[in-house]
Symmetry: C2
Subunit: 323 residues, 2 copies
C-alpha cells in the first residue's frame, strides 16, 4: 500500500573520520523514500530549487517513488554541511542554508490525499499539521511523526498538539529526554505514550531502538556494523524500514508483531545506510540483500540456536540445571 | 558445578538521585557471589578487616557461598564512596580507602583449587595471575576476567598477558575503546578476540551487552527497568548471571547457545540489582522470580508473538507482502 513522506530533499556536504563527500544528495524525505521504495511504492512531497542536479532526481525516479508532490522552484535547494567525530554519535553542523525549504508549504497532489501510511519527517510542527489537514481523514491510516531538539524547544506547544493527533512518534534518546525531562528511557517512553501516540520509538544509534506500545516494550539492538562510514540519514532510513513494513503488510492498525518486525527492518535498513555516504550503499543493495540481512539480524537477536526453542524452554534449561 | 570468585568485599557509601545509602555491603566479589548463589554454589576468596560488620558476613553465609577463602584480618576493610548523577551512567568516586585490599594476596584453600568456573573480578592483573597460578590447570575450566580503566592504563602489558591466559573477558564500552583505541564497538570486540580470549563481552549499561565468540555476535538489550535506584555492582551481577549459567549447565567449554543464555541471565540479574541499593533487591528476590523475569526478558527480545515462528518465516512475511 502506498506510503507518503513529507520532508526535506537536500544537498549535503559531509566529513566523517572515513572520508569527505561534498555536494551529495541528502534530506530526510530522500533517505526515507529511497529506503522504503524497496518494499512499497512511495509518494514524496518536498521542495528543491533549480540548482538541484538532474542526476539526483533521476536517482529517485529510478525507484518506485512518485515525485508528483516534489515542487521544483526558482531559487536554491536546502543545503547542509556537517562533520562527525570518531564516535559517529552526533553531527556538528558546519553550515546550514534553509533556502526554499525555509518557506516550504507542502501541497499534496489530489492523488496523494488518500494515503494510508504517512511519515511526517523532521520539520516544524506547523508544517506537519498542514500536511495532516490535507490527508483524507476518513480512511484508516497510520501517521508517524519525527522531530528534533529545535522544535521541542521553540515549538513545544505546537509539537505537543501534534503528538495528540498522530499514531506514532520517533525520537532519539537525547530528544525524548529533552521532551520529558526524564533521564530513564523506559520511563520517558511510557510518558510520551501518555501524550497521545499509540506507538513510541526511541532511536539509540549504535545501541539500537526501543519500541513502546500499550504496556508492551520491544528492545532492538543495532545490527552489528564494523565500519560506519556516514550516519547521516540513518534515522530516516530506520523510519523507512518501519513504515515500509506496515505498508507492505497492509496494516494501518498494526499489532505488536507487525510493529516489532517494522523496528527490525528499520534497524536493518539503517545498518546498510551507514556503510557509505548518501544513498550510495542502498543504491548498491537489492531487496534480496536486505531480506538476507534481516534474517541474519534475527539470528543476532535469537537466544537459542534452535529457533524452535521458545522462551519457556530456554528458561527451562536454566531452571532444570540448577545446582 | 562450583564457581570460584576472587575480588573485593567492601563497605560502600553511595548517593544517587534516588537516595543515599551509607556504609552498606559492597564489593565485586560480594555482588557476584550473592547473585550467582541463586543458581550454583559459590566459593569466595577475598579479604576484610575486623571492622567488617558481622551482619554482612551473615548475609553471605545465608546463601550457598563458601567463605573458607575470605581472610578476616587485623585492620580496616576496603571502603568506597561514590555518587551518581541523573543519567546513572557512571559513578564519581568521592573517596576510596583500599586498606587491607591494597595488599591483598589471594590464597586459595585446597578445596577451592579444583574450580571449573572462575571469575577474576576487577583487580590488578598481578593479583589475578596469582589466582590463576593456584587453580588446578589440569582440569577443564572456564576463567572470566574483569578489569578497569586503571589497569588498562598502568598495567597494560600485564593485562595483555592475562588476556592470553583466560577464556573470557568482560569490559564496559569505555574500557574496550580505551584498550583497543577503536571507537566502533563491533570492531573493538573482534580485536580483543585476537588478543586471546575465546569469549569477549562488552557491557553497555542501560543499552545491554554484546557477546563475541569466534565469528559470531549476540546483541542483548538491557531488560527495561523504569526506576534505577543504584547501578553499583551491576557489572558484577551481570558476570554472575553469565558464569552461573555456564556452571549450572556444567559447561566449561560452552557452545554459543549456552553463552547467549548466560548473557541473558546476566542482563536479568543486573536488572534486579539496580532496583535498590547494595544487595537489598536480590535479598528480596527468589530463584523463581529471577527465572520469571528471564522469561519476560526473552519476550522483550522476541520478534514474533508466536514463538514458533522462526527467523526465516518472519523475513518471509516481509518478503511475501511486498507491494
Amino acid at each position: 500500500m502506498p506510503l507518503l513522506v513529507v520532508g526535506s530533499v537536500a544537498i549535503d556536504s559531509i566529513e566523517t573520520p572515513k572520508g569527505r563527500a561534498p555536494s551529495i544528495i541528502g534530506g530526510s524525505a530522500t533517505h526515507f523514500s529511497y529506503a522504503a521504495s524497496f518494499f512499497t511504492p512511495v509518494r514524496l512531497v518536498g521542495v528543491v530549487g533549480e540548482d538541484f542536479p538532474e542526476e539526483y532526481l533521476a536517482l529517485l525516479r529510478s525507484r518506485p517513488i512518485d515525485l508528483a508532490g516534489l515542487q521544483i522552484r526558482k531559487g536554491r535547494s536546502f543545503r547542509w554541511s556537517g562533520r562527525y567525530q570518531s564516535s559517529m554519535a552526533s553531527a556538528e553542523t558546519l553550515s546550514v542554508e534553509l533556502n526554499l525549504f525555509g518557506e516550504f508549504d507542502p501541497v499534496l497532489p489530489d492523488g496523494f490525499k488518500r494515503s494510508p501510511f504517512v511519515f511526517l519527517a523532521n520539520g516544524s510542527p506547523h508544517v506537519q499539521r498542514r500536511v495532516l489537514e490535507q490527508v483524507d481523514a476518513g480512511a484508516e491510516r497510520f501517521v508517524l511523526l519525527d522531530t528534533m531538539n529545535l522544535w521541542i524547544e521553540v515549538e513545544h506547544r505546537a509539537l505537543l498538539e501534534m503528538l495528540g493527533r498522530v499514531d506514532g512518534v520517533v525520537l532519539n534518546d537525547e530528544e525524548i529526554r529533552q521532551l520529558t525531562r526524564e533521564p530513564n528511557l523506559i520511563a520517558a517512553g511510557r510518558r510520551v505514550l501518555d501524550l497521545g501516540p499509540r506507538v513510541v520509538i526511541v532511536k539509540k544509534g549504535e545501541h539500537g531502538a526501543l519500541l513502546f506500545a500499550g504496556d508492551r516494550i520491544f528492545a532492538a539492538p543495532a545490527y552489528p556494523v564494523e565500519k560506519v562510514v556516514d550516519p547521516t540519514g540513518a534515522g530516516d532510513t530506520f523510519a523507512a524500514g518501519f513504515m515500509a513494513t506496515l505498508a507492505a503488510e497492509g496494516r494501518p492498525r498494526p499489532d505488536f508483531d507487525t510493529l516489532r518486525r517494522g523496528v527490525c527492518l528499520g534497524v536493518v535498513a539503517a545498518s546498510l545506510n551507514v556503510e557509505d555516504f548518501s544513498l550510495n550503499r542502498l543504491a548498491r543493495a537489492t531487496r534480496e540483500e536486505i531480506v538476507a540481512r534481516y534474517r541474519s539480524y534475527i539470528d543476532v537477536l535469537r537466544v537459542d540456536g534452535d529457533a524452535g526453542i521458545a522462551a519457556g524452554r530456554a528458561a527451562g534449561v536454566v531452571e532444570s540445571r540448577l545446582a
